[in-house]
């Protein structure tokens, strides 16, 4: 009993150490961010605030947008569309990709189609979506979906294609039942391929949804950007851009990266 408790304590300490290490690693990123803001400030002072507002102005405008309650509804609308398209792409792309990876024929056949999907620029899909779905949620959701799908699909397909035959022999030799093959042999391997795809796709979703909104809808961050552009309100444009990039960074580094570290802790000991 006490040994189990000891192990638990050690796990806890290890976990804390890993978190501390992760946060400490943030200093480097923080320093480079500061450098970036300094550069921005410098350029803005040179060009004048009509062309490029200073970080201070952008953040002040952003705070104003939040304080007046203008920002939240737009961000919520945009997030809803992006996440809907993303979740669709994630579930369908992962599932179909995993299945395609199981068969050589399917993966050979899928490859050119995927290349085609990846190669088609999102703006082309957007035009088609506008024709098909008109102005509304359908257009951004579809564009996000079609932009994210091939990224996730390829990751999932590579995951199953590269399954280690040697470990499968181990699984067979030790008589692992089907569910255990899945949870102990296949999934840990596949996830290490899926995760990078998921993260890349999330970034893509965030960018594409704004582009789609800019052209297709009357609400959301993209539409708000269109309005600020027509008013030549550079400070507000910058504010919205900061909000977008900030939320993306927050999701990636506060949510996805820690999950990834947890799931793939076995790699860090190499």
């Amino acid at each position: 009993m006490s040994r189990a408790r000891l192990t638990l304590a050690r796990r806890l300490v290890d976990g804390l150490a890993a978190t501390g290490h992760y946060l400490w690693g943030g200093w480097g990123s923080l320093a480079s961010l500061c450098l970036f803001f300094a550069l921005w400030e410098f350029t803005a002072q040179r060009l004048g605030s009509l062309i490029l507002p200073t970080p201070g102005e952008a953040f002040a405008t952003l705070t104003g947008l939040f304080a007046s309650g203008e920002a939240w509804p737009e961000i919520a609308v945009t997030a809803r569309r992006a996440l809907l398209g993303y979740v669709l792409a994630l579930s369908l792309g992962s599932l179909l990709g995993l299945l395609a990876g199981l068969s050589v024929t399917a993966s050979v056949m899928a490859r050119p189609i995927v290349t085609l999907l990846v190669g088609t620029p999102p703006i082309a899909w957007l035009i088609l979506a506008l024709l098909w779905f008109g102005a509304g949620d359908g257009t951004p959701v579809f564009t996000v979906f079609i932009a994210c799908f091939p990224i996730i699909f390829v990751g999932a397909m590579q995951g199953t294609r590269t399954l280690d035959g040697q470990l499968q022999a181990v699984a067979q030799m030790f008589g692992l039942p089907g569910w255990m093959k899945l949870t102990d042999v296949y999934l840990p391997h596949v996830v290490s391929y899926l995760f990078p795809g998921w993260i890349t796709a999330l970034g893509t979703a965030w960018k594409v949804v704004v582009m789609a909104e800019l052209l297709a809808t009357s609400d959301g961050v993209g539409a708000a950007l269109a309005v600020t552009r027509s008013h030549l309100d550079t400070a507000a444009s910058m504010a919205w851009i900061v909000a977008l990039v900030g939320s993306l960074l927050a999701i990636e580094y506060l949510l996805l990266e820690p999950i990834k570290r947890k799931v793939e802790s076995w790699r860090n000991f190499a």
Binding site: T7, R10, Q166, L167, A169, V170, Q172, M173, F174, G175, L176, P177, M180, D184, V185, P188, H189, E264, W266, R267, F269, A270
Partner: protein
């Protein structure tokens, strides 16, 4: 209970790798297959393990719990050593606490430490990984142990330690062993029967019994026997050694 391989032939594509193989492993018996690299030893072992189906002939294995130690340790990189050793027990449906206790006890006997059990395989040295792989195979209490050049990458000290562990295990539970090796000394030290294979396509060309009990096979005995063994004409042809004057 036995393993019977009867008139087995196998091919990969158009290449014949095994031909006319007859082999029987009785309970508690240790059989070594020796032969040059590429003569189809691993294929034969995979057939015996049921990982491959033979092209011709039949493989009958009535052992209830066969286990295999592969040429590389093949531990699951995302599982801690403790869970790797307990893999077969988990598959057999043993509860967590029991299988972890078994794994820990085995690992300690193999010279792994409590600390090693919490590590991932990538943090273990090659020798430690091999010990863990042997522990994983022994954990299921096999009645047939298949060894695929399992010790070939280890230093002599570790080898003799694992030989000792293996001998102990055979003494305790009379588990049968089918091992392949290209190390004649290893075969002479461990086996009751040595089958010599020759390549392309692989077949069994000679059989030798070793009747000395395991306990009496000390270093010098093994060296002397190996020196004798290596002078046999069938061994020399199988390994393509030059003829003796």
């Amino acid at each position: 209970m036995s393993l019977n391989i009867h008139r087995v032939a196998h091919r990969f594509g158009y290449q014949r790798v095994l031909e006319d193989i007859d082999l029987r492993v009785a309970p508690g018996e240790a059989v070594a297959l020796v032969g040059p690299s590429g003569c189809g030893k691993t294929t034969l072992l995979n057939l015996a393990a049921g990982l491959l189906s033979p092209w011709e002939g039949c493989v009958e294995c009535s052992f209830r719990r066969p286990a295999m130690m592969f040429q590389q340790p093949r531990l699951l990189p995302w599982k801690r050593t403790r869970d790797n050793i307990a893999l077969g027990l988990k598959a057999a449906g043993q509860p967590r606490a029991a299988r972890h206790a078994t794994a820990a006890a085995l690992a300690l006997r193999m010279g792994l430490t409590e600390d090693d059990l919490d590590k991932y395989p990538s943090a273990l040295s090659g020798g430690m990984q091999s010990r863990a792989a042997l522990a994983r195979a022994l954990a299921v209490q096999p009645d047939l142990l298949l060894l695929d050049e399992a010790f070939s990458a280890l230093d002599i000290g570790l080898k003799s330690e694992l030989y000792r562990l293996l001998a102990e295990e055979r003494d305790n539970r009379h588990c049968a062993v089918l091992m392949i090796t290209h190390d004649l000394m290893e075969a002479i030290r461990l086996a009751d029967r040595i089958l010599v294979m020759a390549g392309s396509p692989g077949r069994i060309v000679a059989e030798h019994r070793v009747d000395t009990p395991l306990a009496e096979r000390d270093e010098s005995w093994v060296f002397t026997r190996t020196a004798e063994f290596i002078r046999w004409p069938d061994i020399r042809t199988a390994f393509a050694l030059p003829e003796l004057p």
